[in-house]
C-alpha cells in the first residue's frame, strides 16, 4: 500500500511541476479544483471507514472466506453479482470495502464481479435509465452487462 502511495505522490508532484512551468494560473486553478473535490468526499469517506472498521470487528474472517473466498463456488458469483446489481454504492466507497474483503479472504473473482456489476448494472436506476433509452433497451443493456461482469470476474480470477 505504501508503494502505491509513492506512485501517487510522485505522479502528482511531477504533473504539478510540469503544469506550473507551462501555466501558473491553470495550475493554481487545477490544484484548487482537486482540493475542493477532496473536501467534498472527505467526510462521507471517513464515515464509510468508520462503518467498515465496525463491520470488520463484528464479521469473522472465516465467514467472508467461506462465502466469498476461492472455494465458495457458485455463491462466489451469485452473492457479489446480485448485491452489486442492486446496491447503489459510490465507487470511491466501494474500493476500501473491496480491499478489506480481499484481505479477509474473499477471492479476486468475487471482488471483480462485485465491482463490475456495481459500476455497470443498476437495478435501482433502471426506471431512470428507461426514461432515456426506453424500457427494453435499458433492460437489455443491464442484462448484457450483468453477464459481462461474470465473464470479467472469471477472467480476473484466472490471473491470480
Amino acid at each position: 500500500m505504501i508503494n502505491n502511495a509513492i506512485i501517487f505522490v510522485a505522479v502528482a508532484m511531477i504533473l504539478t511541476a510540469v503544469s506550473y512551468l507551462l501555466d501558473r494560473e491553470k495550475t493554481k486553478a487545477g490544484l484548487k479544483k482537486g482540493l475542493q473535490m477532496f473536501k467534498g468526499i472527505a467526510v462521507p469517506f471517513l464515515n464509510i471507514l468508520i462503518l467498515v472498521s465496525l463491520v470488520l470487528y463484528f464479521v469473522p474472517p472465516d465467514f467472508i472466506a467461506k462465502y466469498l473466498g476461492r472455494n465458495s463456488g457458485i455463491w462466489g458469483f451469485v452473492i457479489p453479482a446480485v448485491i452489486g446489481s442492486i446496491t447503489l454504492i459510490p465507487g470511491f466507497i466501494s474500493y476500501p470495502i473491496a480491499a478489506v474483503l480481499i484481505r479477509q479472504g474473499a477471492s479476486y473473482t468475487t471482488v471483480a464481479t462485485f465491482m463490475t456489476t456495481l459500476m455497470m448494472v443498476g437495478i435501482v436506476t433502471l426506471p431512470l435509465e428507461a426514461k432515456y433509452f426506453g424500457f427494453r433497451v435499458a433492460v437489455i443493456r443491464n442484462t448484457l452487462n450483468f453477464f459481462a461482469a461474470i465473464v470479467i470476474g472469471l477472467l480476473v480470477g484466472l490471473c491470480y
Binding site: L15, K33, V43, I50, Y108, M119, L144, A148, V151
Partner: protein, 175 residues
C-alpha cells in the same frame, strides 16, 4: 463547538465515533480500541494517496476540458469517434446515472448508437478518478486486468446493441 455539530448533520457520525473512542480508551473497553485500530489503519491508507489523486484529477480537469472534446464528438466517426467518446468518459466523475444526460447530448450531436453505449461502458469502468482509487486500493495488476477485460466487452456490447437496434428507430429521450 457542540452547537456547530448539531447544526451540521454531516459530522454526526464522526462526532459519535470520536466520542465512543475516547470513552473506550478511558474505560479500557477493548472492542472500542480494536475498532479504532482498524480505523487508524484505513485512515492512514486513505490519506496516503487520495489527496494526491485529487491533485492529479484537478490538473486533468483544467488541461483537458470536457467541453472541448464534446464539441468534436458528432463530426468524428470510425475509430477516432470511438476513442473520443472513451476519452470523454474517462474524464468524468460520478455515478452511472449521471452519464445518461451526457448520452442524450452525444445523441443530439450525432454520435452513433454504438458510441453512445461505448460511452456508458467507458463511463462505468474507465473514469480516471476511479482508476486512481482502484490502483490505490487493489493494485496496478488488478486494475490492469479488470480494465483490459472490460474494454473489449463493453465495446462488444456497443456493437451488439447497434446491430440489434439498427432498424428499430432508436432514440435517446431528453428528460
Amino acid at each position: 463547538m457542540k452547537i456547530s455539530f448539531t447544526q451540521n448533520k454531516k459530522y454526526i457520525w464522526l462526532a459519535a465515533f470520536v466520542t465512543a473512542t475516547i470513552i473506550s480508551y478511558l474505560f479500557d473497553f477493548n472492542p472500542g480500541r480494536k475498532v479504532f485500530a482498524n480505523f487508524t489503519q484505513f485512515f492512514i491508507e486513505m490519506i496516503s494517496f487520495i489527496p494526491f489523486l485529487f491533485i492529479i484529477v484537478g490538473l486533468f480537469d483544467v488541461w483537458f476540458p470536457k467541453e472541448e472534446i464534446e464539441k468534436h464528438i458528432g463530426e468524428s466517426s470510425g475509430l477516432k469517434g470511438m476513442l473520443l467518446v472513451i476519452i470523454l468518459a474517462m474524464l468524468q466523475a460520478g455515478p452511472l446515472y449521471g452519464a445518461f444526460p451526457v448520452a442524450y447530448i452525444l445523441y443530439k450531436k450525432g454520435a452513433s448508437i454504438k458510441n453512445i453505449f461505448i460511452y456508458l461502458g467507458a463511463f462505468a469502468s474507465l473514469k480516471i478518478p476511479m482508476l486512481g482509487i482502484e490502483i490505490g486500493y487493489l493494485g496496478v495488476k488488478f486494475t490492469m486486468i479488470r480494465t483490459l477485460t472490460s474494454l473489449p466487452l463493453f465495446v462488444g456490447i456497443g456493437y451488439l446493441l447497434e446491430w440489434y437496434l439498427r432498424d428499430k428507430r432508436f432514440k435517446v429521450y431528453e428528460i
